[in-house]
Amino acid sequence: MPPIDHYIWLSSILFSIGVIGVLIRRNGIVLLMCVELMLNAVNLLFTAFATNFQDSAGQVFVFFIMVVAAAEVAVGLAILVMIYRNTKSVDISLLDKLKQ
């Protein structure tokens, strides 16, 4: 088995890829997907530590994160659909209404 460090490396890389994805894409759906990727990177790390310390709490947390992620996706996608309905696009660059 590889040491815990390597898991950290892996999840850091995945997390960063998620961040980069959020920053360079304009499609709202892809953005959500990148968020999922980041969540998964964290999940992986949780599990790795749980294994390392032989503590099941970490894995329970992963489970809860998944729960939250599922809920988040449901609501997030609903919002996106809504946005699409209003703007005929899921391009987040068009969303500059926050300015007002």
Partner: protein, 627 residues
């Protein structure tokens, strides 16, 4: 004996309460009688106390309650009737009583009758507190109280704007002096830990002399304000705006002599402080001369008397300055008699003239106002120093003390002032009572002698002015100087040799001759030749300066009032509005400006926010790792 003090104090206070609260519902005469009676009761008490002390009794002390207690400061509300206090009490209640009676006639037509008597009673109460207080703070209480009454009474006819200003001026100028007095009291607290007379005076020797000098000077500042000395004298002539009995009582006989009382009371300190005494002397002397010269050119009957009062007060301060404290008090006494007489006489004249005060429009009144004329003449003779009237003895004594105590220069200046006094008094007398009547026909028709409530006090005062000198006959006439003997136990007089008989005779002769010349000259100038003085604006040269009162008011206005007003505007408009508020506003505007710039950051673009967030997190992490 303490109860006499209590009654003496309480009775005018009761009178004040009755006439103040119920005066509106009582008939005028009843109010007047109650008020006068209350003062009479005080007078009787003073006589009892006087008797007690005169027969060798100890000073009476009345302790009531502890007034203020905080830390080291403990002030008892207690009173002390020693010889000095009782002496003053006699003058205050005696003259005060006469003036109360007089006022019943004088103020009879005034709608504020009851208010007037309420104030007068309050004044008597305050003045008694002033002289009876057993420590400086109680004295200060009375001191402020009389100032307040003076303010109220000067502004009695408040509907007149000028009178209001005069009242305010009096109060404020007094306050300037009061500050000095207050600081002096603080110094006393600082040095002695108490201001109780008996304690303070008995331990006076323990303090170092520089401190004593300073205390004396501060106390004297207070006296200058109250007794209208240079540079704070200009309020007194303006104070003539008040009803004439007020001028007689407050601004001639009693309140203005509070300064003399204060210095005399502190004689223990003053005697040992050279500098302070010199200041007292110089201020008194300058005031005496300046006020007398101004008096030469005044046309308002009351203003002439007012300047004369200032001048006479200057005399008293000269006496104090040379260390002849009992002499000063002697002069206070005689002055109270004849100056009250003169003021009341002038009041009678004004009464007859229906309010006219300008002597240029009088003349020849002696025919209609016989009693007034006669008593006024006696007063004039007394103040001019004609022997054997009261003024002669007291003035003569001051001259002698100045000569022996300080030297020839002071003596000459005082003598000259004395001559000037005689000149303006006779000028006043002749212009008012002799010659042709210069007023309107209506006034002429209206001329009448005053009612007996007014003339009786005049007569009594005239008698007192004649025989008052008996209180302090000079050594030429008698070996018993009553005032000196009575007061010397409480006053620490400086050691001034008794004048030689030769000196006295010379002074007596010279003054009689001089006075005779003056009387003749003024008579011929004003009565025979019918010269009438011009108004101030028509005067030329030095006369103009005199009639403009050396431009004191104008100088004060330019040097003090204007700068303060300017400062006020400057402070409000510039420092407050521009500067401090400016700083406040700048901080506000700074935020606005920053906000304007920062607003551009808020593009509303979600991507930008995301990027910013990530950059922020990175920055945070970097910092975290570096630290």
């Amino acid at each position: 004996m303490g109860s006499y003090i209590a009654i003496a104090l309480f009775s005018p206070l009761l009178g004040f309460t009755i006439s103040g609260l119920f005066g509106r519902f009582l008939p005028k005469n009843v109010t007047g009688i109650i008020a006068s009676l209350s003062v009479f009761v005080s007078f009787v008490c003073s006589i009892m106390l006087f008797n007690h002390l005169h027969n060798g009794g100890d000073a009476v002390k009345l302790e009531t309650f502890n007034w203020i207690a905080a830390g080291n400061i403990s002030i008892d509300f207690s009173f002390l009737a020693d010889k000095l206090s009782v002496w003053m009490m006699m003058i205050i209640t005696g003259v005060g009583f006469l003036i109360h009676i007089y006022s019943m006639g004088y103020m009879h037509h005034d709608e504020g009758f009851y208010k007037f008597f309420a104030y007068l009673n309050l004044f008597i109460f305050s003045m008694l507190t002033l002289v009876l207080g057993a420590n400086y703070v109680i004295m200060f209480f009375g001191w402020e109280g009389v100032g307040l009454c003076s303010y109220l009474l000067i502004g009695f006819w408040y509907a007149n704007k000028e009178y209001g200003y005069a009242a305010r001026k009096a109060f404020i100028m007094n306050r300037i002096g009061d500050l000095g007095l207050l600081l002096g009291i603080f110094m006393l607290f600082n040095v002695f830990g108490t201001t109780d007379y008996q304690t303070v005076f008995s331990s006076a020797g323990t303090a170092n002399s520089a401190t004593i000098e300073l205390i004396c000077i501060l106390l004297f500042v207070g006296a200058v304000g109250k007794s209208a000395q240079i540079p704070l004298f200009t309020w007194l002539p303006d104070a003539m705006a008040g009803p004439t009995p007020v001028s007689a009582l407050i601004h001639a006989a009693t309140m203005v002599t509070a300064g003399i009382y204060l210095v005399a009371r502190s004689s223990v300190f003053f005697v040992s402080s050279e500098l302070a005494s010199t200041i007292v002397l110089v201020v008194g002397l300058v005031t005496a001369v300046v006020a007398a010269t101004i008096g030469l050119k005044q046309n308002d009957i009351k203003k002439v008397l007012a300047y004369s009062t200032v001048s006479q007060l200057g005399y008293m301060f000269v006496a104090l300055g040379v260390g002849a404290y009992s002499t000063a008090l002697f002069h206070v006494t005689t002055h109270a008699f004849f100056k009250a007489l003169l003021f009341l006489g002038s009041g009678s004249v004004i009464h007859a003239m229906s309010g006219e005060q300008d002597i240029r429009f009088m003349g020849g009144l002696s025919k209609k106002l016989k009693i007034t004329h006669f008593t006024f003449l006696l007063g004039t003779l007394a103040i001019a120093g004609v022997p054997p009237l009261a003024g002669f003895f007291s003035k003569d004594e001051i001259l002698a003390k100045a000569f022996y105590g300080n030297g020839i220069l002071v003596f000459i200046l005082l003598a000259v002032t004395s001559v000037i006094t005689a000149v303006y008094m006779f000028r006043l007398y002749f212009l008012t009572f002799h010659g042709e009547f210069r007023g309107t026909e209506e006034q002429k028709h209206h001329l009448h002698e005053s009612p007996s409530t007014m003339t009786i006090p005049l007569i009594i005062l005239a008698i007192l002015s004649c025989v008052g000198g008996g209180l302090g006959l000079s050594s030429l006439f008698s070996h018993h100087h009553f005032a000196d003997t009575f007061l010397s136990s409480v006053l620490t007089n400086a050691n001034i040799p008794h004048p030689s008989h030769l000196f006295e005779i010379v002074v007596l002769v010279v003054s009689v001759v001089l006075l005779a010349i003056i009387i003749l000259m003024t008579r011929s100038y004003y009565t025979k030749k019918q010269n009438v003085p011009t108004s101030a604006d028509e005067e030329t040269g030095f006369g103009r300066i005199l009639s403009k009162k050396y431009y004191f008011d104008e100088i004060y206005k330019t040097l003090i009032q204007k700068p303060i007003e300017w400062l006020s505007n400057f402070a409000h408009d510039f420092i407050d509005r521009k500067f401090i508020d400016g700083i406040v506003n700048i901080s506000g505007r700074g935020v606005t400006v920053c906000g304007n710039y920062l607003r551009r950051v808020q593009t509303g673009n979600v991507e930008f926010y995301l990027l910013a967030m990530v950059v922020g997190v990175i920055a945070f992490l970097i910092i975290y790792q570096l630290v």
